[in-house]
């Protein structure tokens, strides 16, 4: 290696070092500390390091904890599927049916509620879905309902709140994918005799798979780790994993158990990544 190259590398490394050190000190080391803590136990009010898997065994044997994993997975999967199904047509309509000069406006409008505060967004849905809320009053007003039905503090409310957010996110990723496709794909398919539906199903849909999968993975990560939405909208009738973690931290002060639950949560995200990575790598020309 020449001395010029060596000094260039030294400079480059000096540039990268601060960010690396920060990530090491405040991300990797804390994560390690958390994993260590998950191997400890709460005895009385003292945390005692035991280096055993007691907390993990408890998570998978205690029905109230195990249920949290399933609640979280069910909610996350439902949200992801519904959001993709709602967002794809929206992104497609904006990308292909809306005149080009209004597209930017349409997309900005479609994600406008992003700019409300995240806590406030869930609160706003609580206003809409409550017993005396706008939705019930309206449904009773037009004669569809005689009396309000319970949506707040159910899983349905959590799912609605989540879907609202993730439809916006997925619309963005799928739209970004759609507009970078050459219009010639659709032209070529039509030219070779494909109907509009065939073009959509055989050509456009497969080509947006990377956008869908990227969005679905993001949805999974953000949804399964979110505490606010299930807490405000879903209430305490069934607890998702983040709610369980916060419960351990708050009322019980069981830090080791909260850490173990977090490690399990992390493992679920890693599994989701492994499942979608194959698609995220989808070849493009």
């Amino acid at each position: 290696m020449s001395s010029i190259e060596r000094s260039e590398r030294r400079t480059a490394f000096a540039f990268v070092a601060p960010a690396l050190l920060w990530t090491l000190a405040f991300f990797l080391v804390p994560f390690g500390a958390m994993v260590l803590l998950s191997l400890a136990h709460l005895e009385g009010r003292e945390i005692v390091q035991a280096y055993d898997l007691g907390n993990y065994i408890k998570i998978f044997t205690d029905p109230s904890l195990l249920k949290g994993i399933f609640v979280s997975l069910e909610i996350t999967m439902t949200v992801t599927v519904i959001s993709v199904l709602l967002a794809w047509p929206l992104a497609w309509i904006i990308a292909t049916q809306v005149p080009a000069r209004y597209q930017r406006l349409a997309i900005m409008l479609a994600v406008l509620p992003f700019w409300t505060s995240y806590v406030v967004r869930s609160y706003a849905w609580a206003l809409v879905l409550g017993q005396n809320g706008v939705l019930m009053q309206w449904l009773i007003g037009i004669g569809l309902l005689d009396a309000p039905i319970q949506i707040m503090a159910t899983r349905a409310a959590t799912i609605i709140g989540f879907v609202h957010f993730f439809v916006m996110l997925l619309t963005l990723t799928i739209y970004a994918n759609l507009i970078q496709l050459s219009p010639n794909y659709a032209r070529a398919a039509a030219d070779l005799g494909a109907s509009g539906w065939q073009t959509l199903r055989l050509v456009i849909l497969p080509l947006t798979l990377p956008g869908i999968m990227t969005g679905a993975f993001l949805t999974f990560v953000l949804c399964i780790g979110d505490y606010i939405t299930p807490q405000i909208l879903g209430g305490n009738n069934e607890l998702s994993m983040p709610q369980l973690i916060m419960l351990q931290l708050g009322r019980r002060g069981d830090f080791p158990m909260a850490s173990a639950l977090s490690v399990v949560l992390m493992a679920l995200v890693t599994l989701a990544y492994a499942a979608t990575a194959r698609w995220l790598k989808m070849d493009r020309v």
Binding site: R9, T11, A12, F13, A14, F15, V16, P18, A19, L20, W22, T23, F26, F27, P30, F31, A33, M34, L37, L86, P89, L90, I93, I94, Q97, V98, M108, L109, A110, L112, P113, W115, T116, S117, Y118, V119, V120, A124, L127, V128, N132, V134, Q137, H164, V167, M168, V221, G225, D226, Y227, I228, I232, P242, I245, F255, S259, S262, L265, M266, V269
Partner: protein, 256 residues
Amino acid sequence: MRALGYIYLVAIFAFIFLPVIVLVLFSFQAGRLPVPPFDGPSLKWYAEVLNDRGLMEALRNSLFVALVSSSIALMLGFLAAQGLARVRLPGSVVMRGLLIAPMTVSYLIIALGLLSLFNGLGFRPSLWATGIGHVVINLPLCFAILFAAMGDHQKNAERAARDLGASELQVVALVTAPMLKPALLAAFFLSITFSWDEFIIAFLLTRFDVTLPVEIWSMLRSGLSPATNAIGSLVFLVSIVILIILELTVFRKSKS
């Protein structure tokens, strides 16, 4: 087909806007509950939140944390991107992976990790602790945006500047930063947004001085109130104004 498309568009836009409309509408409610029937308009809840010292304090804290943490994240991210884009370092793939990794981890886990560490070190929860957490979540974002924006023509322009006698500092100040201005601004404002809006890290890592989302959260625990609508609407309004200013200045220019 087209008509069906527009019907779908209207229906889904209604769904997307419904909570925002309800939020803003009932911020003008005169009564004590933000539910129908609407009995406003009244500005009394705006007056109340603007005179609420706790809220205004939280707003200042949020701004402080957002500005400081975004500046640090931007600086670290810029330097790292500059270093990794310039030469092929041994292990550069690993370094890139490590820098991006926090992006795929739930904020709750990052918060809990920092809490474990700080507890172990006896470091008390504070705005500074929150700021550290916010740098952790925004650093990958800044790095990714800036790394993607640094292309070959960037590298060549820097080489040309060095060749013409510019020092390392002059290269960064006179060539790199101006060329990357749109990406730098995008990364900075995205970071501000994320930090400004972040709840769980701030919730777990602050105690007495709290940020705005945490303060709003504690307002919620005392039940529904048009005051929450008012502060929510104010935050929304400010975000939209900033967004429009950005759209009209920075991003319009960078497009042409």
